[in-house]
Every structure is written in C-alpha cells, then in structure tokens.
C-alpha cells in the first residue's frame, strides 16, 4: 500500500503521482469513472496497474488515496 495522488494533468487526462518513487504518469484507464462510483483499478501509461477502493462520489481533485500495486514486477 502506498499513498498516491491523483490530479488532473495539463493535458486534461488524469495524472498519477507516487511521491515515494517520484513516479508521475498519465492514467490510461480507470475502472469506475462515474458520478456514483469513482476508483478501482487503474492502468498507467507505462503499463503498470494499481488498485484503490472506489469512492462513492466523484472527488475534488487532486486527491490522495491509498493504493495497491497489482501484478507486474514489484520493485
């Protein structure tokens, strides 16, 4: 589990930021992106997948959430 920050990037896409690793990347897809449910699994541009518990409303961005890395090599 790691704290990540999701914000709206300059290009309008959602941007993912992992402060511990200074990893900043665009989010290509987010599992739930509706007004009722927001979150779940997300895929980054570099292919890595993360998961965080979906929120019940669309939050005000940026937001810090606890996320888990899914699959892939764990470095």
């Amino acid at each position: 589990m790691a704290n990540i920050m999701i914000r709206r990037g300059d290009n309008g896409a959602l941007s993912f930021y992992l402060p511990k690793k200074d990893l900043e990347d665009d989010i290509v897809s987010l599992e739930f992106d509706t007004p009722e449910r927001w979150g779940g699994e997300l895929v980054l541009k570099d292919g890595s997948r993360w998961y965080f518990d979906p929120l019940e409303t669309q939050p005000r961005l940026p937001i810090t959430v606890k996320a888990k890395r899914m699959g892939g090599e764990d470095d």
């Binding site: 920050m5 914000r7 300059d10 930021y17 402060p19 690793k21 200074d22 990893l23 900043e24 570099d46 005000r60 940026p62 937001i63 810090t64």
Partner: protein, 490 residues
C-alpha cells in the same frame, strides 16, 4: 566535430565504463543513457540512487538541500545551522541569493548562525545550547520574523529533541520557530533535503494565516522555486507584473515568512524549480485547490511560451498583457540574438548541474544557435528525466549523478565548445583549455531569467566561449618536460 550518432554515443559510454570493476560497471551503466524520444524515461535511465562508494560524486547532502536551497534565502528569518560550525560557514552566502534589506538588522541572508557543537554537546546533548542561542538571537536581532533550526548530522545521531525546544521558543517569543530534520546523512543527495524542507514549511508555516483576512485580487500568483540567484526572481517578477499579475510571494529568493504564509491565498502557483518545490505545490493544490503550472524563463522562446501558458489561467486582460510584454521585448531580444548568434552559432554545450537547469537552459542555448549535446542532473528523479528526454535532441548523452572520471572522459571524447557545471568541475576543464561556465550561481554573474536575463546570458556565453585565452592554454599534464627538472630542484 559533427554530432555523434547513436552507435557512437553508445560505444562512448561502453568505453568509459570499461575502467570500472564489474559490479560498479553494472551499476553505473544504468545511470548513463543515449537520449531516445521513443523510449520511456523510466526504462532508459536510473536516478535518485545512492552514489557508488569510491567515485567522485558531485552531490550535496540533505542539509545543503534544506538550509542552502529552500530555507536559506528566506531573508527575514534566522536559519540556525544546528551542529558543528563548518556546515554553515562553508556554505555561507555561496549561492548568491540576492535580497533587499539591511543585513544584520532586518535581513539575515548572508549571515551564519550556528550552535558550534563541541564534544560536550555531543555527549550531553545540545538542546540547552539551542535554547540559549535562540534567547541570544532575540536580544541581538529583535527584528527577525522567525527562526528555523537546520539540523546537521550529529543532531539526528545523538537524538536531540529540537521540536520541543522550538515549541518552547515559539510559546516564549510568539514567533515561528521551525525545527527542520534535515540531517546530512538522510537520503542519497540534497534532493531529500528539499523534500524535508517542503514538509517543514507545510507543517509549520503554510496554515499560519488561514484564518486571517487577506485583500486578494483575481490576479494573485506566487513565484515558487526561484531562488533569486544573481537577481533571477526579480527579472522574472517584473515580466509577470507587467502583464498584469500581482506577485504575492517569492519562494524563496528574496522571500519573507509573511509571503510564504500568504501563499495559500493566491490563484495560481508558478513553479520554476520543479525538483525542489513540487512537493509544496502539490500540497497546496490538494489542500487549497490552487493549481500550479511549470514555466521556464530561460531564453526568449521559452519565456514567450511560458507567458502565454501562464496567461491561459486568467482572463483576457492578462492574455493581452502577455502579448503586450512579448511585443515590448521583441525588439530587444532580436537585437541580442542578432549580436551574439553569429558568434555562437553551431557551438556545442555539455551541461551537468542540478535542479531545473539541465533541461531549462536548453531553450536559451538554442535561441543562440547553440546545441546541447549532453546533459545530466546531480540529484534528479525519474520525473525530471521524463521532462528532459523531450527537450534534448535524439542520440545526445544523458548522465545521472556523473562521476568526476566519467564527466572528464565524456568531455574529452565529445569535445564540446563549452561546459556548464559547478565550481568543483570548473578548474579541471579550464586547465584542459575548455571554456567553462559555472552554472550553479551563474559564475558570479546573472540574472539569467527573463528577457533582461537573456541579454546577460548571451553576453556571458560569448565572453567565455570567444575568449582568446583558451587557445593559449596547455594542460599542465600535456606540457613538455622542460619544467620538470625545475620542479624537482625546488
């Protein structure tokens, strides 16, 4: 010499790596790369790792990042170098963060305050000494607006409780006293010091005026991550003000504690040095909903781009203002380029600095017709390289935390016309007969930001590059042996 091809650059890296033992070779290979626009920065270069033991690294420490970079320039606070005397004294005023004020009365930028640790302080702890030091400061310098306690290595090692001392002092004097846990041994470079300093600002400064009234305008901005080296923040600030914005705070060059406390009231944070201050910008975005935008004030092309980019966050008056500013300085910039470009056209530059410069100054060199053929950071992270890959030409050299040996070898092989790096590299390259600019504090010149800065930048580059002295230089180790007997006799 023509630019190297991809294969040649790769071969060059291999050649330089050959000298290392196998394990070191493997480690260093990850930090050297050939720029490739297609590749993912994360895959092509490793950064923010511990330097290899036994090589000459050019990095600093967490204390340097906190006291020297982030906190130090805040002029109306007193920054105590808590620990032995050397850390503060040898870094005193070296960065040339200019400020307005009377030193020793209401501004303290160039002064060194230290608790001067002795053996007994290590044995019995230094908290009492720190408390006494703060009392003395209040008597001698009553106009200080606050104090920050910048820890040096021993503080963390002996486990002093500077937080308790700071809280007591805050209660006693009613002033902001900030304990900063930036012991030098933390992290791999000064970069962690920036982060720690940002976190200290977040915890002890940012929220202080949340409840207070502030007469704001829709055009309030803050300059974040400009340290006013040689007056950089001033030459940036006038452009922003000319286009109609109100600069509420300068972080932290020529900045004050009050400015920092008022920053959460601005409409937009303008972030120049991404590396050292993105943390606080992200924090303000999350807590106060203030957007931040990176900009680049090196060279007319980038200034123009940045002014327009900043203006998109505001209404039409600012957009018009930006165009007005660009138009106003157009003639001046054309004259500068017309004068210096013919003298500098086609020259090749290699850089090795820290923070934002390895990518930000590329545009300024390109405006002068010069080409940056190699660049690298002392303490960058992955996100910096991602931004750099786009700026640099294909097949150019990238080096992270370059060692003294590697840098010398790269320069010998690539043969740039100009090297831009720090003071530790300066004299080696000058003795090799290669024009050199110290790009950390602009070689005692500056400012380089903004339109006024570019004129100085162009002049300095020309002055260095076309100086006739380089042709007469022979490195001491290439001289004939005539001098040798003399040295032996002496």
């Amino acid at each position: 010499m023509a630019a190297l091809t991809r294969e040649e650059t790769e071969a060059l890296i291999q050649e330089v790596l050959e000298v290392y033992p196998e394990k070191a070779q493997k480690d260093r290979a990850k930090h050297l790369a050939v720029n490739d626009h297609e590749a993912n920065a994360k895959k092509c270069i490793t950064s923010n790792r511990k330097s290899l033991p036994g090589v000459m690294t050019i990095r600093g420490c967490a204390y340097a990042g906190s006291k020297g970079v982030v906190w130090g320039p805040i002029k109306d606070m007193i920054h105590i170098s808590h620990g032995p005397v050397g850390c503060g004294q040898y870094s005193r005023a070296g960065r040339r963060n200019y400020y307005v004020g009377v030193t020793g009365v209401n501004a303290f930028g160039e002064m060194n305050f230290t608790s001067d640790f002795q053996e007994r302080d290590i044995v019995f702890g230094g908290d009492k000494k720190l408390a006494k030091l703060i009392d003395e400061i209040e008597v001698l310098f009553p106009l200080n607006k606050g104090i920050s306690v910048q820890s040096e290595c021993p503080i963390g090692l002996i486990g002093d409780d500077i937080e308790a001392v700071s809280k007591k002092a805050t209660a006693k004097f009613g002033k902001t006293v900030v304990p900063v846990r930036c012991e030098g041994f933390r992290g791999v470079s000064q970069s962690l010091g920036h982060h720690i300093a940002n976190d200290a600002i977040r915890d002890w400064v940012i929220g202080n005026r949340d409840a207070k009234e502030f007469a704001s305008t829709p055009y309030d901005v803050a300059i974040i991550g400009d340290y006013n080296i040689g007056g950089d923040a001033w030459s940036s600030r006038i452009l922003l003000e000319e286009m109609g914005l109100r600069v509420v705070a300068q972080w932290s060059g020529d900045g004050t504690l009050a400015e920092m406390e008022n920053t959460p009231k601005v409409k937009l944070n303008l972030l120049h040095c991404y590396r050292s201050m993105n943390y606080i910008s992200r924090h303000m975005e999350e807590k106060y909903g203030i957007p931040w935008v990176e900009y680049n004030f090196f060279g007319p092309t980038k200034v123009e781009e940045s002014l327009r980019k900043i203006a998109t966050y505001f209404d039409d008056t600012i957009k018009e203002g930006a165009e007005r500013v660009i138009a106003k300085y157009k003639a001046m910039m054309d004259a500068v380029i017309a004068k210096y470009r013919p003298r500098l056209e086609g020259k090749r530059v290699m850089l090795y600095v820290g923070g934002l410069r390895p990518r930000h100054v590329i545009g300024a060199y390109e405006d002068l017709g010069m080409e940056v053929v190699g660049t690298g950071y002392e303490f960058a992270h992955n996100d910096d390289y991602e931004r750099t890959v786009k700026e640099m030409g294909n097949a150019t050299l990238l080096y992270d935390d370059v060692t003294g040996f590697e840098f010398e070898e790269f320069v010998k092989k690539v043969k740039p016309d100009l090297v831009g790096s720090g003071i530790k590299e300066k004299f080696i390259f000058q003795k090799m007969g290669i024009p050199f600019r110290q790009m950390h504090s602009w070689d005692y010149s500056g400012p380089y930001h903004g339109y006024d800065g570019f004129a100085i930048f162009a002049r300095d580059m020309d002055m260095t590059l076309n100086n006739p002295c380089w042709k007469t230089q022979t490195p001491p180790w290439k001289k004939n042996d005539d001098a040798a007997p003399l040295a032996a006799a002496a």
